[in-house]
């Protein structure tokens, strides 16, 4: 099975507190640690496990700048065979639809049975996978948390409310967006990264993909993020202050008063 997994480089929220820059038009990006979007890592692991079972290959693709290459390399160190960097100055400022159009063009250049995305990006809108499916006119399922390959089709589970799971049989090719917890993504060590350090990763721009850049970049974007801000909130919590001992004393009083101790 030929599988394409779309991966995005995002600021790692486990490593950084996200702050807004002084102009308010972006988050503070100096010193940010970036990593692959959490959901995408599960998607790549799933693709590798499928190929281990039924054969084929995994290609990881990203739309981004030169720095995005590092996430491709990381996912290749996990076991993806091929990487594809979709990069072009004209892609700058693309909205979700633009990103989906670029990825769709890349899908059409290949011959994929299955396209996986993450359910959402930390700085995204849970939209790219569903848009790609509609552009490709193939079936889509979001929030997928099991995949089983059955002759020529897939049996999948979709996570729904309350931890229940809706089971479907899906024809291929199809696009699935992957929910966290579907598997346990393997650990990538320094050695794994070193092994793929010198692998050539092909780059493709608008003309390679055969798309009109003016239809996908910032000028075509109909959805625009204007700024970042921290909303004016209500009072919020009463923050307990003082030495640890004093804080614990106050907390215990609250627990007693509110029925938190039995």
């Amino acid at each position: 099975m030929e599988i394409l997994v779309c991966v995005k480089r995002v600021p790692d929220t486990a490593e950084n507190e996200i702050e807004i820059n002084s102009e308010g038009n972006d988050i503070e990006r100096d010193d940010l640690v970036y990593s692959v979007n959490e959901w995408d890592n599960y998607a790549v692991e799933e693709a590798i496990q499928i190929v281990d079972k039924v054969g084929g290959s995994v290609t990881v693709a990203t739309v981004g700048d030169e720095e995005s290459e590092e996430v491709l390399r990381r996912e290749m160190a996990m076991g993806a065979q091929n990487g594809l960097l979709l990069t072009d100055d004209a892609f700058e400022g693309a909205d979700g639809k633009g990103i989906a159009s670029i990825l769709t063009a890349a899908v059409k250049k290949g011959n994929y049975d299955l396209i996986l995305t993450g359910a959402q990006a930390d700085d995204g809108a849970a939209e790219v996978g569903g848009m790609m499916a509609a552009m490709l006119d193939v079936p889509y399922a979001s929030l997928v948390n099991t995949i089983e390959v059955q002759d020529g089709k897939l049996k999948i589970g979709r996570e729904v409310e309350g931890g229940n799971q809706d089971m479907y049989e899906v024809e291929m090719p199809c696009v699935l967006s992957i929910q966290t917890g579907i598997n346990e993504p393997r650990y990538v060590g320094i050695r794994g990264i070193r092994k793929v350090a010198s692998v050539e990763i092909p780059e493709q721009g608008a003309s390679d993909l055969g798309i009109d850049a003016s239809n996908v970049g910032g000028d075509a974007a109909k959805v625009k993020r204007i700024d970042y801000f921290v909303p004016e909130m209500g009072e919020g919590a009463e923050m307990l202050e003082g030495s640890t001992e004093e804080i614990i004393e106050k907390l215990v009083e609250y627990l007693k008063a509110k029925g938190g101790l039995k």
Partner: protein, 322 residues
């Protein structure tokens, strides 16, 4: 002015809370526009829900077809493309069904998609101004969208106060004959119910809830010690279940359990809406988090800025001494 629609989710005839939240959202964005409810389903449920919605909405479109005996987004998308005017605005709840349906629907309608909208600053010509969040609510953004070709808008559940004014008085229009071919290449098989766990956290009065701030599996034990000293049960956020450190039945949130304790103690939990969506009944919330800007402090009654790995053992000791 484009026609405004709201998609009504229901479960076998029981209308979802979001039905009147969407009406409130629609009225905030388009103050004077009539709003049409769309009710899809199969059999008696559809009529029951459609009739109920006439009180609040200016019109109700119903679609009654066996394909919708189960909420199937793939089939619903095909039907909606056939019945909706191309430049309409459609509002849906940003939950498991809307996430499945909406991005693709916006492409098929050639309109814009706005995801997980938490507020609106209204319309300026063809520019719709909304507010979204990124990084699990750590920062907000103003987003402007050109809706001259229409829009599909997923609205976050629970943020708009339901519009209970019952100022609708619309008629039910049967659109079942206009949906066209709704056959799909994704066949629904069954729904598998979540497994019950060793504890039923939905019945717990006091919950010690563990989040990603616990950092390592070995530290979970520490949280059980605290819970034991308090006489509480242990629940958790999703990443703890994803990592297989605790069983799924302990997960609080929209894709886990809905809990109604008296006291909810969130330890190393950031406070995402999918997590807090499972905390109901207005409990007394205590948040302990090392990041003073964590969104959880906006929702909690009492907060402590601390490293839980240092703070919790001391708290446990103190409680044991009582």
């Amino acid at each position: 002015m484009a026609d405004i629609f709201a998609y009504i989710e229901h479960n076998q005839g029981v209308v979802d809370d979001t039905a009147l939240e969407l009406l409130a959202a629609a009225k905030k964005i388009f103050p004077d526009a009539p709003v049409t409810a769309i009710v899809m389903g199969s059999g008696g449920d559809v009529d029951k829900v459609a009739n109920e919605m006439t009180a609040s909405y200016n019109a109700v479109w119903k679609v009654d077809n066996a394909a919708f005996s189960f909420p199937d987004a793939e089939a619903a998308r095909k039907a909606l493309v056939n019945i909706l005017p191309g430049d309409c605005v459609l509002l849906l709840p940003h939950a498991h069904f809307g996430m499945d349906l909406s991005p693709g629907l916006s492409i098929k309608l050639d309109s814009v998609f706005l995801s997980d909208v938490v507020d609106s600053e209204g319309l300026d010509g063809n520019t719709l101004k909304v507010i979204r969040q990124e990084f699990s609510g750590q920062v907000s953004t103003h987003v402007h969208a050109d809706i001259s070709n229409g829009a599909v808008i997923n609205v976050r559940p629970g943020v708009f106060q339901p519009d209970e004014s019952k100022a609708g008085g619309g008629d039910v229009v049967d659109k079942s004959g206009d949906i066209g071919d709704v056959s799909v290449k994704r066949k629904y098989l069954e729904t598998v119910q979540a497994e019950a766990g060793e504890v039923d956290i939905t019945k717990s009065e006091v919950l010690v809830s563990v989040g990603r701030g616990v950092e390592e599996e070995d530290n979970i034990e520490m949280m059980f010690d605290l819970a034991e000293a308090m006489g509480a049960d242990v629940s958790c956020s999703r990443p703890i279940v994803d990592a297989k450190w605790l069983e799924k039945a302990r997960q609080v949130g929209t894709s886990g359990q809905t809990v109604k304790p008296k006291v909810y103690m969130a330890l190393g939990i950031s406070g995402s809406f999918q997590h807090m969506g499972g905390v109901k009944g207005n409990p007394f919330i205590i948040a302990i988090n090392k990041n003073p800007k964590a969104p959880i402090f906006q929702m909690a009654d009492v907060g402590v800025e601390a490293n839980i790995l240092e703070f919790v053992p001391e708290l446990t000791e103190k409680i044991k001494e009582l």
